[in-house]
């Protein structure tokens, strides 16, 4: 799955990225990949640091931040589209919880992240989230953040 986003405002230099996930099984780390909108690689690697505690799916709590520090600063330029992809090795199982933007409840752009949305691979194509009986929703985000560099 991935978060796809198009940068608005000013250019930023990102030194690291983190995502909140739950580890369900296995001892292998999650893989993260930052790429341009056309799919060309910018940075990738396995999540650093200790693995999140193993927690059953659906349990309360247990989600943890895992991150990747880029070898060098990655420029996120305004108007350009980027994807942050997450993938789990075959020997481990992770799950992620999207965060709804709340646009259907009247939340305005000023209160949320309006520049992207979460997607998952449905067959061979990327598609918006299926949630609460609705399909292809684009009003949810993966829980991610970038650490910026000056």
């Amino acid at each position: 799955m991935r978060e796809t986003f198009t940068v608005t405002g000013v250019s930023r230099k990102a030194g690291a990225v983190a995502v909140q996930v739950r580890r369900l099984a296995g001892d292998a780390p999650l893989s993260l990949r930052l790429e341009h909108g056309d799919g060309t690689l910018m940075a990738q690697g396995e999540a650093e640091g200790p693995l999140p505690a193993c927690t059953p799916s659906g349990a309360l709590g247990g989600c943890a931040w895992v991150g990747l520090t880029f070898a060098g600063p990655q420029t996120l330029a305004p108007g350009q589209t980027y994807h942050l992809l997450l993938s789990a090795p075959a020997s481990a199982s992770y799950e992620v919880y999207p965060m709804r933007k709340g646009t259907d409840k009247g939340f305005s752009d000023a209160t949320l992240f309006p520049d992207g949305h979460a997607e998952y691979r449905d067959g061979g194509a990327w598609a918006g989230w299926d949630q609460w009986g609705h399909v292809r929703l684009t009003n949810a985000d993966l829980q991610i953040y970038f650490r910026l560099r000056p």
Partner: protein, 195 residues
């Protein structure tokens, strides 16, 4: 695991079964005691506390108990509307905690307790709910015998406000439509496996 939600009015039925000799039906209500003597703390002490603390929408919490001599052989609990069943409205009741001692099953005690409860709680405007795991066929048969009709399907979802308790939400009504009005959505959402 999905749950099935059935409902009916609480207008009492003609009583179709009577207790065998030596059995008696008692309708218990919390008073000084929060649970009947000998009942385990979980969940009955909690349910009694909710009654005492006015967590329920109405003060109708109670149980139909059937004794054989001095031995409890059946219980049917009635829970008023509260946060764990957000689809219920004030005045509604939910049957819960139905249990029959294994060696007294098949005698129709649950149906007798249910009909006794309806006589006690009769109110034509009141909806009585029955929630059952979809794989619990004996309980489903009891509900149908008791005049309940399938209303919808749903599941237990975690509740941020009430920790591990969670709440039961109807996600689909019997004809496949989304319930109208839709149930209050839980604060958490289903996770998606990362591939």
């Amino acid at each position: 695991m999905d749950y099935l939600f059935l409902k009916r009015t609480s207008r009492p039925d003609p009583v179709s079964a009577v207790l065998p000799p030596g059995f008696r039906l008692v309708f218990w209500r919390p008073g000084f005691r929060l649970r009947p003597w000998g009942f385990p703390a979980r969940p009955f002490l909690l349910w009694g506390l909710w009654h005492r603390l006015n967590v329920y929408a109405t003060p109708d919490y109670g149980m139909a108990l059937i004794y054989e001599g001095t031995q409890l052989v059946h219980r049917t609990c009635l829970l008023p509307a509260h946060f764990r069943f957000p689809f219920m409205v004030r005045g509604d009741l939910q049957t819960a905690g139905i249990w029959t001692r294994p060696d007294r099953r098949g005698m129709g005690l649950a149906l007798i307790a249910l009909q006794g409860s309806l006589c006690r709680m009769a109110d034509p405007e009141r909806t009585l709910w029955y929630m059952v795991r979809e794989d619990n066929q004996p309980s489903l048969r009891l509900a149908e015998k008791g005049g309940f009709q399938l209303f919808g399907r749903g599941r237990k979802l975690p509740s941020r406000a009430f920790g591990l308790l969670g709440a039961f939400h109807i996600t689909e009504v019997h004809d496949g439509r989304a319930p109208q009005p839709p149930p209050r959505l839980p604060p958490t959402v289903p996770g998606m496996p990362i591939r």
